[in-house]
Amino acid sequence: MKTTVPIIIAFLSGFVMILAFFVSPESVTFGNFELEPEVLSWVTIVGGFTLLLGVVSIVRVNYNAVKRRNDGWVYKLATLISVFAMAIPAVIPNGLSPLFGTGPGSIYDWLFNYLDAPMMSTMFAMLAFYIASAAFRAFRTRNTEATLLLVTAVLVMLWRIPMGEIMLKSIHESIPGLINTYIMNGANMAVQRGIIIGAALGAAAMSLRIMLGIERTYMGK
């Protein structure tokens, strides 16, 4: 029962969504009840309840670390303060003060624009440094494929910068055009399509296995 009921629910849920894809919407509409949109709304509602789980988890883990004065407990305390500093003013109704709520001028908005957004940009900017060190380490002519990877990467990197385009054009006028045609619109596009098709087939096969109860590891079985 403990295993069968979830499998049946998984099968029926999947079957309903497949059916909704092939059948015109009016056929699965009963008065004000529309099947597919209704199911999609249920997903949102269930997600809302599970938000509490996340908050409980983050508070418990960090609180325990602060209580035990583990290494770096000060940062855990900062995490807890940040969670509540942002959440509490945001949920208080805006009517009480313009500082509350999530609209422009609120504490939430200020914290987002002046702390969160710059930090997000900083993390993204770190990619530039990491790409440099990854390229430095990974692009080695160990074998033919690695050499091909290296040469292609160098050509595309040159193609994407003005200085590089000038250098390539000085060798031959048509080289940037050839890179665009044969590398970006040729090999790159073919490989992207191949990977996407393969991944889509893999996802479809996995979905079918889940629906039929063959794959049950996601349930812990």
């Binding site: 908005d109 987002f112 957004a117 997000m120 530039a128 440094f129 160098v154 619109n185």
Partner: protein
Amino acid sequence: MNLWLILAYVLLIAAGIFLLYKAFKSGDRRFIYLAVAFYVIFPVLITLHLPIEISPEVRQLYKAVESLPDSATVLLTFDYYPSTLAETEPMSRGALHHLFRKHCRIVTMTTVPLGGPSIAERVTRNLAEEYGKVYGIDFVNLGYKANYVAVLKGMGSSIETIYPTDNSGTPLSDIPIMKDIKSYSDMDFIYVVSDNGIVDYWMSIVNAQYDIRVGTGVTAVMAPRFYAYLQAGQMTGMLGGMKGAADYEMLVNQPGTATKGMTAQSLVHLFIILSVIAGNVVFIIEKKRKRQGAKV
């Protein structure tokens, strides 16, 4: 060209080579990070203007927008997070310069809750002031609504159902520009600027089903994925990363942060290429030494 500028850049390149040598010697990657930091910060302070070659896909997008009649209606999306502002905001700015210059009517919206509406508000109003455009008459910001599939699909039949009010809470019925813009069929072009996979939905839901032209600006990492759409003719032009944004700025004759960023991008790319080549030279020499050592 200014001799001091040339000298400054020569010194910069020499510093980079020195740091690369230190990285090899010590094996500490932080020398590489330091070199990258120099190559990013320095050009921002002392810009070297480089000639930019326009990519064909950028030119395609420019021509598509240029061919729109004046006073055409364009939907401009701000589907990006604050983390990618460096790449995507110049695209939005370039698009707005182009569209405002052509006196197009602009409807902006976003499918990104974190920062999307406020970025749209800030960027659009900032440029509108420059062109003397009036909110509600020349442009409107619809803001954000959750459930992006429903939003994209729903706007095909009724924008007002999805967005009863604009981002500030004004009912759409009270906004003059929206009086005759009811759905995609009242629009001439969709200009999507995005840093996430929403572009696939714009193509599959909107372009495929409502037969409206869609042009995009995406980050450099995502750009290779969308050449398939370009080749199939589904996408009308694409700006790929900061280079694409810089190309567009050149075409609309409004050089901005993307054009300035090209110098930094050029230097960093050249440094990475140099480090890769140097690394391989060292690798090959060491390999030969090991082989000779093994023979002995």
